[in-house]
Symmetry: C2
Subunit: 320 residues, 2 copies
Amino acid sequence: MSSGGPGPVVGVDLGGTKILTRSIDPATGRAEGRVKAKTPAGPDAVLDTIVETVIGLDDWQAARAVGVGVPGFVDRNGVVDRCPNIAGWDHPVPVADTLAKRLGKPVVVANDVNCGAVAEHRVGSGRGVDDLLAVFVGTGVGGGLILDGNLIVGPRGKAAEIGHVTVVPGGRPCGCGGEGHLEAYAGRAGIDGEVRRRVAAGGTELLDELAGSGPIKSRHLAAAIEADDPTVRELLDEAADSLALVIGNAAALLDLSLVVLGGGVVDKLGEPFLDAIRASDHTGGFGRGAVEVVPAHRLDDGGAVGAAILASDRLSAGPG
Amino acid sequence: MSSGGPGPVVGVDLGGTKILTRSIDPATGRAEGRVKAKTPAGPDAVLDTIVETVIGLDDWQAARAVGVGVPGFVDRNGVVDRCPNIAGWDHPVPVADTLAKRLGKPVVVANDVNCGAVAEHRVGSGRGVDDLLAVFVGTGVGGGLILDGNLIVGPRGKAAEIGHVTVVPGGRPCGCGGEGHLEAYAGRAGIDGEVRRRVAAGGTELLDELAGSGPIKSRHLAAAIEADDPTVRELLDEAADSLALVIGNAAALLDLSLVVLGGGVVDKLGEPFLDAIRASDHTGGFGRGAVEVVPAHRLDDGGAVGAAILASDRLSAGPG
């Protein structure tokens, strides 16, 4: 768990629209140099662009390693299965091996949400705690799991896919094709879908007005709560209950006492939403109060920072 | 993960009524020498008796280490918090350190259900699979979790307490004081309580007759199913649905593809019960068929075998 010696580590955050590459001190999480690029279509072009951003950093040759966070499932060998948000990336690509050859440096690749969890664990709200779950609530719901100080990735890179834990068997449709998953109750897209179903069935139109014709954003939810819209209030109470149940159950299963909550929905709704989760009757597992729920530190470029920390850890651990 | 060199390892299974101590080859799980004793009251007398059983083995001086499975929570330092099934053990006891001093050998202590999971993983139904959950359904419901080949213990030794995952918020009372936990739906004591509530409310009396005035045993449940008792059928369907939901959700959270199911209820009800779990609509997580559910190997003395394997692993890993 040391930072593996002096010198910067490059952190790359590959997103659906942009690539952000930074030079990072993994011990502190402080980010220095910064290169941005648009995310092109297709994995080959994406890898080319990542290489360009890395060698665009002033101090890249001094970097000991490179960490890359990607919006897809990554196996234990750094192979990225597919990236649904990147055009043309529908097949497995050995990202770690390919970039390591081209850059001549050790490369570690991880899921971007997992990178965010590592950043919270090491230099954010989870600092000093060896076992925690980080949950990020935005359009969807993602997570990252740290046990005994180590990121849990899973054999297929799908660990901590907490958005697809079932809270209501046979419940609301989920974007993945399943039913009753956490994401359908707590994710912005799930809430959006339910609001529109209720508007179509003759319910409130406030949120529809607020959001206009586009997708509902976190600030629309916050404004609807401000205006005391009963439908949105009910849906957000359900979201809080669903999160409380899944968090409490994960804590019981994994002996966790800390959960870090972040993402756009949590950021915009703030402490009242966290309090609704903490006060929920749907505590799961060992009951209310057994798990501390704290807001994420909202690190700038947390994905890049977490990727760099993982790359630095791998150096310390040695080969294998 | 090697077996750490030649020579036997002692495995001790501390139960509420008896202590079983065996000389084990951790590579194969084969158990040779065997010493049994009654479990006395109080932790001091228990430790004395464990020492007597160990030195009662013919080859104990050749043993490289000693592993002990205990019916309580064990932290990462081998301190046992309390053992509800052993009279007078209501305070933390440093079992590993105390036994190591008295026996002059490395001692590893683990929860007995976790030891059973390790045995299934290394020499039972989970052999060759690095990530799995073992669930044992008896009076209660316990579990053991292996991730990337390692037993997950948790900071307070409470990991894989799957019996206390909530399946129905506000549902049936659980023995722990909580509500709607898996154990209340799938454990024999939970089913027993529900049968008696229904009998009191005027339901079927078959099971009450079968069980007489004593607690319901797994063979009573099997006989009631044989006789096609509708109440027991309904309760066991609920048990299967509850297990399916929790198993599916744990698999989604931890990227598992294998769950090993054992314990008295599973052993007596057999494949039809496993099939009910596999066919349940309450699949949790990524949906039906994503998780393979297999019966436990029902190893003789699995607790002692698993404890010995953990002790052997610790030797291989070296100090720390």
